[in-house]
């Protein structure tokens, strides 16, 4: 079957096979920033924004996104400029291997879009479905706080 999806601001059409997941579709179509860690919804590496909310794309059937909007990590940059979250991840050392990073950034993007001034607990809650084996989350939480600060016109704004 054929579906129409807006991905990273570009309207696209794909033929999909029955049972194909959004994760499989996206990776097949070159959105390699969407990572595969478990295919069971337990790790968050495959997270994308679906109509603005973070979802694990391994749990979404591609057929279900017909007519919807998807943003992957590749869509976070705007006009060649990194998003404040991406900058903050770099500045705080929140990226180690970087395999969880796309999903983490997506979860944080969702959070800040709906809650521009989250508490530390809310930050941890927002990324609690994104497993990272490298960082212990210390610097990722720090990064999200820094992005919040900068977006609110604090340091370095």
């Amino acid at each position: 079957m054929k579906i129409a999806v807006k991905i990273n601001d570009v309207q696209r059409e794909f033929s999909i096979t029955p049972g194909e997941t959004l994760l499989e579709l996206l990776r097949r179509e070159g959105y390699k920033g969407v990572k595969k860690g478990c295919e069971t919804g337990d790790c968050g590496a495959c997270a994308v924004l679906l109509d603005g909310r973070a979802v694990n794309s391994c749990l979404v059937l591609a057929a279900k996104v017909d007519g919807h909007t998807v943003v992957t990590v590749e869509g976070l940059e705007k006009n060649g400029e990194l998003a404040p979250l991406q900058e903050a991840f770099l500045d705080t050392g929140a990226v180690q291997c970087g395999y969880c990073t796309p999903g983490m950034l997506i979860a944080a993007t969702d959070l800040l879009a709906h809650n521009p001034d989250p508490s530390e607990e809310e930050i941890k809650e927002a990324i609690s479905g994104n497993l990272c084996r490298c960082t212990g989350y210390v610097k990722q939480v720090e990064a999200i706080k820094l992005a919040v600060q900068r977006m609110r016109g604090g340091e370095d704004a």
């Binding site: 969407v34 990572k35 595969k36 069971t40 337990d42 990590v73 990194l82 770099l90 395999y99 796309p102």
Partner: protein, 775 residues
């Protein structure tokens, strides 16, 4: 050796928390990982795995699978090389036994390889795997250390073509026994003696990127393995050997890797991918699924460790004995060396004891294969050693901190264990040249509030608080074995290519090696283009393991940079008509005392295009003579719920001496990640098995690694020292942090509720049971 001046020198690039050189590509999701490359005509490979813990393959019928449309190749023991090798990616000759075949006629654990299918799609490959008919003759299975060592135990490696097994008939992979002084006499002369036995569980690395390899033929027909590995050069050597295929026709590329922690120090898939591509002339992709990763990748060696300590009334240790029995699972990968490290990375810490005995065995079982895992045996040893030290302190009526202070090794001192026990063989003599453990202890005590809270058993409802501590050392590479090389070449805009075999697996080693080169060459980090690792284009390096990269590869980079610097100075001397001895490098130029300068770009232009033309470039190697240990003092505050047995870590503080932190932000990150992993290992992580040896929780839902909400406040304090044998004073830091949580938390639980937990993980059930038994 550096002068005191160099030691105190300010750095321009080193010791700064520079952004990672590969950071931008990672936060933007560029296709940098193994599976991110699409090649036309790629075959998808799936592996048929054994449903039995121990069985002989009587018959294997692949005809139906082979006849399926879309199936390109089926591999079994009937049509693959039979040479035995080790999957352990270690230096040559590997200290692990050659006990593994690509596909064997016998399976030795649930999940062992039986066959592989390469097909046009994953779906077809999976269907074809199911269509393979295998008749097994089941054999009695060995599912514990005790069962393996029982008289008349079934023999797991009864084949006659394995090599390097200590005693196959008794399921013993390796045996270690070393002595210093006379331990029996030592105990007889001791006034206080404690003895403790601790047991550690089966646990998994769970990198978020599972194992993956993509193989293909380049246009000249050479085999390329793009693979998620910590050891590209060992992959090339071992695949060449296993397949009996010329090494020069294999190129191994390590792209970005999604975490390793030891499990990718293993040749797990590359042999199958290589053979598939060579037979079909097509690209082949093998990705482990998460359940396969749990069952068929590698685990930490579960161990039983007994420690006996004898001390004088003032707390000076007089005799120490450690016995370790390690479960290496179905194959002996890293069996001997992990066992050796259990003693060699722990016992030298307390060098005041004159009588020391370390002995142990690594045994085969019909369970998943253990391998290298961050901490590499030391983690297991420290649980027992630091628990025993806590018990000893109590018996002596000493503060546990004070007991450590009276016994730990210091700068200028040595331990006989360094010589007696190395990496699966004799070790190397070394005198500790940098050790700030004393300051680490002091800082840690202050940050956790040791004086105020220790022994107070502060209550909050059903929760009781307690404090615990432990100290640790590790090493920096394997002395006189590990070798690293680096190549630097100069470009005419004053930039440099740094080519390293050192393997960045997410640790940030590309960045810190770039910082070392930039420091020597007097340029900002942006002017160093770092490339790792590719067996065709980068010089040899053993790879990312044994905490070797910062220290060993770092020294190779420093040496290469120094050679390049001296070439630059020679050319500049020519240009400036000055004595090279008087010139200095900095700010991307070379400067003469008379105020004249020439930029690096001009120097390179001159060398490339003007006179006496040559490429400014150098390669240098480094083999360490010793393995300077980083040191850690760790402190935890825990709260134990006396009603549920739940243990909550309230705060975890570590102070670490890793010499000069080349990049303090990345160094902290290494500690934080290792601590988080270690806290999970202490509290929640455990592979569970059915009575027939099948992993019952092979997924990230049932096997609980910590998420952001589970992580307690972690504080890491970098305590600088200066290691004179390391690059800019640095030591390595990759592993040590993971040793800290288990004993530190165990000792804190004792302080809170008076129970000694000697079996990990400390689940509510175990805690509750121990509290009941105490009552």
């Amino acid at each position: 050796m550096p002068s005191r001046e160099e030691e105190r020198r300010e750095f321009n690039v080193v010791k700064h928390g520079a952004r990672k050189v590969d950071g931008v590509s990672l936060v933007t999701g560029r296709p940098k990982f193994t599976a991110d490359m699409d090649l036309p005509d790629t075959l998808y490979v799936r592996i048929l795995r054994s449903p039995h813990a121990h069985a002989r393959i009587v018959e294997i019928d692949t005809s139906e699978a082979e006849a399926m449309p879309g199936v390109a190749l089926v591999l079994t023991h009937k049509n693959t090389p039979t040479r035995r090798f080790t999957t352990a990616g270690q230096g040559y000759p590997e200290p692990s036994p050659y006990d593994t075949r690509m596909f064997d006629t016998k399976v030795r654990f649930v999940g062992d390889r039986v066959a592989a299918v390469a097909a046009e799609s994953r779906e077809i490959a999976e269907a074809a795997v199911k269509a393979i008919k295998v008749t097994y003759e089941e054999l009695p299975a060995v599912l514990s250390i005790d069962a393996a060592l029982a008289p008349d135990a079934p023999v797991i490696h009864d084949e006659d073509d394995s090599a390097g097994i200590y005693d196959a008939a008794r399921n013993i992979v390796a045996d270690v026994d070393i002595d210093v002084g006379d331990v029996e006499k030592g105990f007889a002369e001791s006034d206080v003696i404690v003895e403790t036995v601790c047991e550690l569980q089966y646990a998994q690395h769970t990198p978020i990127e599972p194992h993956v390899v993509l193989s293909y033929l380049d246009p000249d027909g050479r085999l390329v393995l793009r693979t998620a590995t910590q050891v590209p050069f060992h992959v090339r050597r071992i695949v060449a050997y296993a397949l009996d295929y010329p090494l020069h026709n294999i190129r191994v590329i390590k792209p970005r890797i999604g975490g390793g922690f030891g499990t990718k120090q293993e040749i797990l898939l590359e042999d199958i991918a290589a053979l598939t591509t060579l037979r079909t002339r097509r690209p082949a992709l093998i990705e482990l699924t998460r359940p396969e990763e749990f069952v068929a990748a590698r685990t930490r060696h579960p161990m039983r460790v007994r420690v006996k300590l004898g001390a004088k009334p003032d707390g000076t240790l007089h005799a120490m004995e450690m016995e370790a029995i390690s479960n290496t699972g179905a194959y002996g990968s890293h069996g001997l060396t992990v066992l050796s490290n259990t003693g060699s990375k722990t016992l030298p810490l307390y060098n005041k004891a004159e009588n020391v005995h370390f002995y142990g065995k690594a045994v085969y079982t019909n369970l998943p294969v253990a391998g290298a895992y961050r901490g590499y045996g030391a983690t297991q040893g420290y649980f027992a050693l630091e628990t025993a030290m806590d018990e000893l302190a109590e018996k002596l009526g000493l503060d546990p901190v004070e007991l450590r202070r009276r016994n730990h090794i210091r700068a200028g001192e040595t331990s006989p264990i360094f010589v007696k026990l190395g990496e699966g063989r004799e070790g190397v003599e070394q005198i500790i040249k940098s050790c700030e453990l004393e300051r680490c202890i002091e800082i840690g005590m202050a940050r956790i509030g040791w004086a105020e809270k220790r022994g107070k058993k502060i209550r909050e409802g059903s929760w009781v608080h307690g404090l615990g501590m432990a100290v640790h050392m590790q090493g920096s590479g394997i002395p006189q074995i590990d070798m690293a090389a680096a190549t630097i070449k100069m470009n005419e805009d004053g930039s440099f290519n740094l080519l390293v075999g050192a393997t960045d697996i997410g640790t940030g080693s590309d960045t810190i090696l770039g910082q070392i080169a930039a420091e020597v060459l007097g340029v900002p980090l942006e002017k160093i283009i770092v490339y790792s690792s590719d067996t065709d284009f980068t010089p040899f390096d053993v790879g990312a393991y044994a905490s070797s990269t910062t220290y060993v590869s770092g020294m190779a980079v420093k040496r290469a940079a120094e050679k390049v610097r001296s070439q630059i100075v020679d050319v500049a001397a020519h240009v400036l008509d000055a004595d090279p001895e008087t010139l200095s490098l900095g700010d991307e130029g070379v400067h003469a005392p008379n105020g004249k300068s020439v930029s690096l770009a001009e120097v390179c232009h001159y060398a490339m295009y003007k006179s006496d033309q040559f490429q400014i470039a150098a390669t240098a190697s480094f083999v360490p003579e010793e393995s300077p240990p980083p040191f850690v003092a760790s402190f935890a505050e825990v709260a134990v719920d006396t009603e549920t047995g739940f243990v909550k870590v309230v705060k975890f503080v570590t102070a670490v001496d890793c010499g000069t932190p080349i990049n303090p932000v990345l160094a902290e990150g290494q500690m934080e990640g290792a601590l988080a992993n270690g806290i999970g290992y202490a509290l929640t992580e455990e592979m569970l098995f059915s009575s027939r040896g099948r992993v019952r929780n092979p997924n990230l839902f049932d096997y609980k690694i910590l998420g952001a909400l589970d992580i307690p406040p972690i504080e890491v304090i970098l305590v600088d020292s200066y290691e004179p044998t390391g690059p800019m004073g640095a030591k390595s830091i990759g592993e040590i942090g993971i040793n800290a949580p288990i004993p530190t938390i165990a000792n804190a639980i004792y302080d809170a509720v008076g129970i000694r937990l000697r079996r990990t993980p400390f689940t509510p059930e175990r805690v509750l049971k121990a509290m009941r038994n105490k009552e």
